[in-house]
């Protein structure tokens, strides 16, 4: 009977075990690579869809600002649409017939007449002259020129007929169509017309909302962190507060929206859709983040600092306010910035308090109805027009840029001011 030696058993299994080891290791690496691949896929797919939105198709028209049609005392009242139409007819004289003419007028955005009106109102001397102006083209033209509408697909499946494509090519040959940087996107509010829609209104709404959030959440969050870390006795009550804060950090954001709706809007009668209410809701939502980060920052301050301050006769409040808090401030600011970034990207609670309305005007006060960037993205993503897809992606790119900047600032703060004792 040959004795089975342990070493043989071990060596016999070794090959299999090493194979498993390699497999396990590869699986781990694959998991990371796959996750990062998703991340890059997300970024690539959004930038591929969105980068075209930063340029916009414009058509140059030669308009006669007819003095018989414009009342010089009240230039705002005149109907500039007819002048735009006339200019288009002159540019493509071969277009005849009511129907064709109507499609011809559709080449240019409805915003053109307002652009002319604003131009004349700003400078009334233009009345009676002939001006060449670049006006935004309709979104369908824009989509065609950017290649989002396939020219070779059957005519019935496109929004632009062969005839209109012919006119557009004609205009292109005349050199009166070109793509320019899209300033409208950064300077105007929302619009039903994709070519006139911009993110300025939503960006201002986000700014106001974040200001309210910061003004409320930062002082309250710092106060709560200081109390819990420096003053609170260790008893049941403090324990309850702690558990509570940790729980609040994990409550779904939409629940905060329900709170805002029932409490701030229905009970206290604050205005719907206002950055004020949005900011209140978001500040309650970000408060746990700030408190938790603030406590970590306070914990990192070594006890010797406290003891030294108390030792030379400072009171406890003086010790905290003069020594501990300034040392913990960078950490607290980092936490606050991360909380603000979270608030900037939040959508669901704001839907609950009515920040989904279609708002054209750019908000100027905390109680004006407003949208915020993520809500604007949500609204545009729901719009059927093809042109809104690229606008949505572009708005997402802007939002992500803001978020990256904020998080970058947080990382910088941490690197710059982090102290190791």
């Amino acid at each position: 009977m040959s004795r089975l030696r342990t070493i043989d058993v071990v060596q016999g299994g070794l090959k299999k075990r090493y194979r498993f080891e390699r497999l396990f290791r590869r699986l781990g690496l694959a998991a990371i690579i796959l996750s990062l691949a998703f991340l890059s896929l997300l970024f690539i797919s959004i930038s591929m869809k969105g980068y075209t939105a930063f340029v916009q198709t414009f058509i140059s028209i030669t308009v006669h600002l007819d003095e018989t049609k414009i009342d010089i005392t009240n230039p705002g009242k005149a109907y500039y649409g007819s002048m735009v139409k006339e200019a288009l007819r002159n540019a493509l004289p071969e277009v005849q017939g009511r129907r064709d003419k109507r499609s011809l007028y559709g080449l240019i955005s409805t915003g053109a007449e307002y652009q002319l009106r604003d131009m004349v109102m700003a400078n009334p001397e233009l009345i009676g002259t002939i001006q060449t102006v670049w006006v935004p083209a309709d979104d369908d033209v824009d989509m065609l020129l950017k290649g989002h509408i396939d020219r070779h697909s059957p005519e019935s499946e496109r929004r632009i007929s062969d005839k209109v494509i012919g006119w557009i090519d004609d205009l292109e040959n005349q050199g009166v169509i070109c793509k320019k940087f899209n300033t409208t996107f950064f300077s105007s509010g929302d619009s039903r017309e994709p070519e006139l829609a911009g993110i300025r209104g939503a960006a201002m709404g986000s700014l106001y909302t974040l200001l309210v959030t910061l003004a409320i959440a930062f002082p309250l969050g710092v106060g709560a962190a200081v109390y819990l870390e420096e003053f609170a006795p260790t008893n049941r009550w403090t324990d309850i507060i702690e558990v509570n804060i940790n729980n609040l950090a994990a409550v779904p954001s939409i629940i905060f929206g329900l709170l805002g709706l029932a409490m701030f809007i229905n009970f206290f009668g604050l205005p719907r859709s206002a950055p004020l209410v949005g900011g209140l809701v978001l500040s309650l939502m970000t408060l746990p983040t700030i408190i938790i980060a603030g406590r970590a920052a306070l914990k990192a301050v070594p006890p010797s600092i406290r003891e030294a301050a108390l030792g030379i006769g400072a009171s406890k409040v003086q010790m905290v306010m003069h020594h501990v808090l300034p040392l913990a401030m960078p950490g607290m600011l980092t936490g606050t910035i991360i909380g603000m970034a979270q608030a900037l990207g939040e959508t669901a609670p704001l839907l609950m308090i009515g920040m989904v309305a279609f708002i054209v005007d750019i908000p100027t006060a905390l109680t004006d109805p407003a949208a915020v960037l993520p809500v604007q993205i949500y609204l545009w993503a729901d719009s059927p027009e093809r042109a809104f897809v690229e606008k949505t992606s572009a708005a997402i790119m802007v939002l992500l840029t803001f978020l990256i900047c904020m998080n970058g600032a947080a990382v910088y703060l941490r690197r710059r001011f982090e102290r190791r004792w």
Partner: protein
Amino acid sequence: MTPLNIFILVVLLSAIVYQIGRKKAFTVSGNNIRSLHSLPTHYGFFTALWCGLPALLVVLVWFLCEAAIVSNLVLADLPQQLRELSTLQQSILLYDIESLADGGVISRDVTAEMEQAVAHYKSLHATSRAALAVVVLTMTVGFSGLALRRITPGLRARNQVERVVRILLVACSMLAILTTVGIVLSVLFEAIRFFKVIPLTDFLFNPQWSPQMAIREEQVGSSGAFGALPVFWGTLMISSIAMLVAVPLGLMSALYLSEYASKKLRLIAKPLLEILAGIPTVVYGFFAALTVAPFLRDMGAIIGLTVSSESALAAGLVMGIMIIPFVSSLSDDVITAVPQAMRDGAYALGSTRSETVLRVVVPAALPGIVGSVLLAMSRAIGETMIVVMAAGLAANLTVNPLETVTTVTVQIVTLLVGDQEFDSPKTLAAFALGLLLFIVTLILNIIALRVVRKYSEQYE
């Protein structure tokens, strides 16, 4: 005066009073501050707090109540026929009156009664603001006068100021409790009103969900079934798909990063993974609805499967990507907390790295890992924007992930977005769903936090 102006005014006044109080302290000490009980700045703060704090409290309470009181007064003074309108019509009327008073335009014709009401509203508003200004000014001046008179070298200003500071700090930390109470109360009250109309058992066990209430009696298809079962089923299905994606990916990433990866890779990969958690959910929603869902539909068409364009699979997959970092970074924390001695022991016995990881590290870290998975699950259940944009509205009791299902959060959003009568069962149902969602996530969170906490104490 706008609220902001009053606030700034009070703060400015307090700043001035602070200086006066400080000077007064010097004066009463006869320029020998050693005779003072506290530092001169404490006397300054003492007067400033007396000046600002009561006034600010009054301003706060005033603004919280003003809108409700003014609108009730306006409503009470409306002519008889307008007062008999339903609550909804009254609130619309009130809204119109308010926007008229703000100089806005409304969609209906302005009647004589409304003009009267607008004038009334304006006068009430003006009176309220004027009264507030008077009250605040008297309070600031009166209280700072009283405080200034109390300044003597023996006044224990520091103790008093510090007591106020402590009370304020306690108040800050109480806000967390107040928020929870506010959430519970606001959701609970509306939910109770809902359960008065629809019995609780019906809500929990009815397999039908079609939240339409009949406007007219004989209307077709408006039976209004409020069974939350299919809605919860959909939530469960989508979040399970998400967990199927997130748990293996997140856990394996965490294990690799903590056990195998070089320091450099760890330094790069960990923040990159955390970017996934920082991307706004609306972006994921857009990605799911416009990239993943059409892709899945086309793939399904190729292999001959009908995939709905709002399939549970698309929403679940993208949600899974979103919660990878929740699983990975929390698990990573607990895995690195496992004492090195345990690993060394396993190596000394001749085990390979993967055996050490699977038989020693993972069992030791298991409670923490379970905690992180539960937290991620609660995040998935409460996630809103991805499902609002990528999942459907129809409540289906199905096990096929290629079909459309709906979730609790989608239903809350669809029921509450838009202008509806606030006390119809339809809108109240949203609060009932919210209550259920809150309870479920709360239970998950509490278990998870408790498990993680207990575990982290174990190795400390």
